[in-house]
Amino acid sequence: MKGKVVRRVGGAMIVFVLAASAALAHITPPVVLVSDREAVVGLLQGARKFFVREVRLSAEDRQIIQKQWQWNADEEFYRFYLGRDDQGRLVGAMIFLTEFTIHGPVRVAVGISPDGKIGGATVVELTEETYPWLKPLIDHDFMKDFVGRDSRGNFAMGTRHVGAHENMALFYGQVVATLIQRGAILFETAIVKRGGAA
């Protein structure tokens, strides 16, 4: 009787352990590469004063973005950090944007110059699963390819990367590139068109 109970308990324990391992295997902890402050300071170099501008998109704005770029910009509001010089002139703007993928979120900081062109970008956060895919591209400074492009520019991964990196790297590189383009789209829509880029 006692042996039977012990065997049953042992069996139950093994089932529990296997199930726990399976459940825990899903966890992909976030990897934060830089703090928000580092990203803001890094992308707004030359700024003497810092401002926050929060913007809402109108239904018309959203419609235009959807039609022109096939993106549903559905956040309630977007937060830009603006850098200005001593005279109050706009030096640049930056925004944090996130894409939620099946392997976890990818968060990117996008710097934009007053004329709406990309000034720089940095990956702020991803996950332990996606980091090894993106790291070779980050090491190759692939985001530099998009500097100087505006919202209508080409944000496809450059030919120098295709073939040089595995498919998952290229996929996540494109996720980052798309986020960078979205930064430019939002800046143009919510700041330049409203006359706020001075």
């Binding site: 199930a19 902890p29 703090s35 401002f51 926050v52 929060e54 937060r79 996130t98 976890g104």
Partner: protein, 182 residues
Amino acid sequence: MNGIYLSRLTVSAKVFCTLFLIGIGLGALAAFAQAFTAVGLSLEEVQSSLAPQMPMMEMGHGQMSAEKEIDIGQISSTAKVWIRTPLLIQTSHTHLFGQTLIAGLLGLIFLFSSLGEWKKAVILSLPFVGTIIDIGGMWLTRFVWPQSAVLVLIGGSLFALGYLLITMISLYELWIRKEAFA
């Protein structure tokens, strides 16, 4: 329980239980370190990681933008994780499964303790209740009331307290307690 007590288990069963309890303890320490580095352990840090991103400025009805000057010191300088809803869903499902299974295994061992039934019931409930309060607190912080972040700390503490009590009592009964039971 059915005449089987921790102190009466075979040596292999005792070793199994002991190593399991130690392993879970090490895992809990690693989880604690991860929570400390990725989120933080103060109420404010938990709250800022879980609460929804709130506008920094009041925008009236129909107002499309607002701007204010900030000090660069107002922007977080620590690389902390902000847990958005998709990550909260992921965290909830993995932790509810994982922690409940761990609580189940801890409870399974503890069922063979010689403590009275009520004491045993209360102690083995702690990790389960802690998990529910912990994860429930995350959702309440995100969607109902940011102050609910205190529940995350309480839940985590209850889980840890339950683990410590179960482990200390179990190890004592496994290896030190010798008396026979009726």
